[in-house]
């Protein structure tokens, strides 16, 4: 085993490039994950998240660049590193006619673990009542919990989860989040999580990495990303009765104005909502516009992502 992991980065990826035929999946990506740090890698389909994660997992190898886990390269350290990481791949289907316990027992045997560890995992992921159920009879959420249980079976120092809650209902998603929060609190595990869900990244992770088209666009804590954005307050509303689209850019307070044709909403990034809102209302009244669905809020990760890429996270393009 690798001893004395210490404070060295759990993952240190430098200038990673990877192409599939003509498609550049990763184009000079850097990533560092510290011990006990939870990192979310955000991006729409085709951003290169899965390729990055698979390179970290040792399933794929970069065309160019250097990747180390716990200071070690995958080459010559495969067995050691497999003992240190836990993986949940995107949409893995386990054998239908094996029970939950048998599936966990199989994976436990790869790490020479005992039945006691299987019971611990069943407790941890709340699948005790289903331990005799065939995998084929599990719900989507229960299958994801099983996948998470398998990822945790060797008590990994680094947990790598590729879209662990995609397709789950909000209740099942929150159950997974609770398990992950427990790990962070009690075991000091490091984690990389790829996701489409801003809320997941906001709720669970210390470091957020935003990717698009194979590049890292921004990284930092949620606060750092919001601070780095031009404004952190938003006023959004619908207008009825206006003949021409008003030009809100003439106000000094408005840093950016957008009109979302899909929702028929105006979105104003402003410096100070409490100062600007009375001015805005007065202006619209005088212009004879009727305001509806007025909402004031702070900038979200979604807004930052749209600002950076011009696309929404949920935009579907080619998955890489």
């Amino acid at each position: 085993m690798i001893s004395n992991v210490g404070n060295q980065p759990v993952v240190n990826a430098v200038n990673i490039h990877k192409s599939f035929k003509e498609v550049k999946a990763l184009d000079g990506v850097d990533l560092e994950i510290k011990p006990s740090q939870f990192t979310a890698v955000l991006g729409p389909n085709g951003a290169g998240k899965t390729t990055l994660v698979e390179i970290i997992e040792g399933i794929q190898f970069p065309d160019k660049g250097d990747i180390r886990l716990f200071g070690k390269h995958w080459k010559h350290n495969k067995d050691k590193l497999h003992h240190l990481i836990g993986i949940s791949l995107q949409e893995t289907l386990f054998e239908d006619k094996l029970t939950v316990r048998e599936t966990l027992r199989l994976f436990a045997s790869f790490y020479e673990l005992t039945e006691k560890r299987v019971d611990e995992i069943l407790d941890m992921v709340n699948l005790q009542e289903k331990h005799r159920s065939y995998v084929v009879h599990l719900s989507g959420g229960q299958r994801q919990k099983l996948a998470l249980g398998i990822a945790l079976i060797n008590n990994p120092m680094l947990l790598i989860l590729d879209e662990p809650t995609t397709g789950l209902d909000p209740t099942a998603r929150r159950e997974i989040w609770d398990i992950l929060r427990g790990l962070k609190k009690n075991q000091g595990t490091s984690m990389i999580l790829t996701t489409h869900y801003m809320e997941e990244a906001e709720s669970l992770c210390d470091q957020i990495v935003i990717m698009d088209k194979g590049k890292v666009l921004a990284r930092g804590t949620l606060d750092e990303l919001i601070s780095a954005s031009q404004t952190n307050e938003i006023i959004q509303f619908k207008l009825a009765g206006q003949k021409n689209v008003p030009d809100f850019n003439k106000f000094i307070n408005v840093k950016e104005m957008k009109y979302d044709e899909l929702t028929d909403q105006f979105i104003l990034h402003v410096a100070n909502t409490s100062e600007f809102l009375p001015i805005l209302i007065r202006y619209l009244n005088e212009a004879g516009c009727k305001v509806s669905e007025l909402r004031c809020r702070y900038v979200s990760l979604d807004d930052i992502f749209v600002q950076m890429t011009g696309r929404k996270l949920t935009d579907n393009t080619l998955g890489i």
Binding site: E57, G58, I59, I85, E95, E102, R105, F107, S109
Partner: protein, 365 residues
């Protein structure tokens, strides 16, 4: 907890025995097939021949009309349908069923496979219309023309000596072919398809992201499949011995050696075919494209000697032919190891070569 080797082996058994479909196709289906075919060819069979007859307009002087009225029996409750039975105590019954139809209706019957020959009359001469490439039609022609020419029995029963000693019956020909086909199907679907499915479900990728020993994964898959093929073989063998009295007249050692070499070949081929195939639809087509021609060409159900001469030397060296012919010679001709040494070596070495070639290019991700 048991080691990963035993865990890997035990999941193979659990997956197999918990899948009713797998049990049916592996154990029940071959037995049902051998029973059905064995019974069909066991006793003196009734041969049923269907012929359409076109009666000419001036029916009074028609040779065919006279034949139907005077020699045949009208079938009760059926309009314009007649029957003529040829009985032979050695060969069994040959029943000729005649349908009186217009020429157009007769053609439709041929197209639909409802009749194999058409009889029509032209200036007092009976004409026979049939496809000479169809052996059933040719047999119908020989029989019916004989009857119309006044031959009321096929031959003298005393000159016929039936061959029904063990090893010379159809069931003795069939069972070794079914055993070989069963092993081929079991290996290709059980290993090749199963590996492709595991890859398409990303399970292989998940497994190799652990410290699992890949060699143990493959070995346990082979071991379990070999045990399943032995059980399948045993079930069919015991059934055919008890129900049809099939025996292995040759060497049991040669039987075991050929069984192992045939299994090795198809297991090795399975790894090679599964090595790069990414999804089950392609896998399905790939396996069918191997098994279907082999089943048709290699004489599993009927001898391949009816194929054109130029292709027979090729057929003889197809893997399923080597396997089935070797089993037949052990079952029915009393062959030993010396006789089957060449097929044994060919199947074993090519199987091992396919296995290592498959492993060399095997894609775990």
């Amino acid at each position: 907890m048991r080691s990963q080797f035993w865990q890997l082996l035990s999941i193979q058994f659990k997956e197999f025995f918990r899948e009713p479909g797998a049990l049916f196709w592996s154990f029940i289906f071959p037995i049902l097939m051998s029973f059905g075919l064995g019974m069909a060819f066991k006793d003196k069979p009734e041969i049923l021949q269907h012929a359409a007859i076109v009666i000419p307009a001036n029916a009074d002087s028609s040779k065919l009309k006279n034949f139907l009225d005077l020699k045949c029996k009208k079938i009760h409750n059926k309009n314009n349908e007649y029957e003529f039975i040829l009985d032979n105590k050695k060969l069994g019954k040959t029943i000729d069923h005649f349908f009186v139809r217009t020429r157009e209706e007769s053609d439709v019957m041929i197209k639909r496979g409802q009749a194999s020959i058409i009889l029509a009359e032209n200036k007092g001469i009976v004409n026979y219309f049939f496809d000479p490439a169809n052996s059933e039609s040719r047999l119908a022609y020989l029989t019916i023309s004989g009857i119309l020419n006044g031959k009321s029995s096929i031959s003298n029963p005393d000159e016929i000596q039936t061959l029904n000693r063990k090893g010379m019956r159809y069931i003795d020909f069939l069972i070794p072919g079914l055993l070989a086909m069963g092993i081929m199907s079991s290996c290709l679907w059980g290993i090749c398809y199963s590996l492709i499915e595991k890859r398409s479900k990303k399970l292989l990728r998940r497994l190799v992201a652990t410290p699992m020993k890949k060699s143990w994964f493959m070995i346990t898959m082979f071991m379990s499949r070999f045990i399943f093929t032995l059980l399948e073989t045993l079930a069919l063998l015991v059934f055919s011995m008890l129900v049809f009295g099939v025996t292995i007249q040759g060497s049991w050692l040669a039987f075991a050696a050929i069984l192992i070499s045939g299994s090795f070949f198809f297991m090795g081929l399975s790894i090679l075919l599964a090595s790069r195939t990414a999804n089950t639809q392609v896998g399905n087509g790939l396996i069918s494209s191997i098994t279907m021609p082999l089943m048709l060409l290699s004489g599993v159900f009927f001898s391949y000697s009816n194929f054109p001469d130029f292709i027979i030397p090729v057929i003889k060296y197809l893997p399923l032919t080597l396997f089935a012919d070797s089993l037949r010679s052990i079952f029915n001709e009393g062959s030993g190891m010396n006789t089957v040494m060449l097929p044994f070596l060919i199947l074993t070495t090519t199987g091992i070569a396919a296995f290592f070639a498959g492993l060399k290019i095997y894609k775990w991700n």
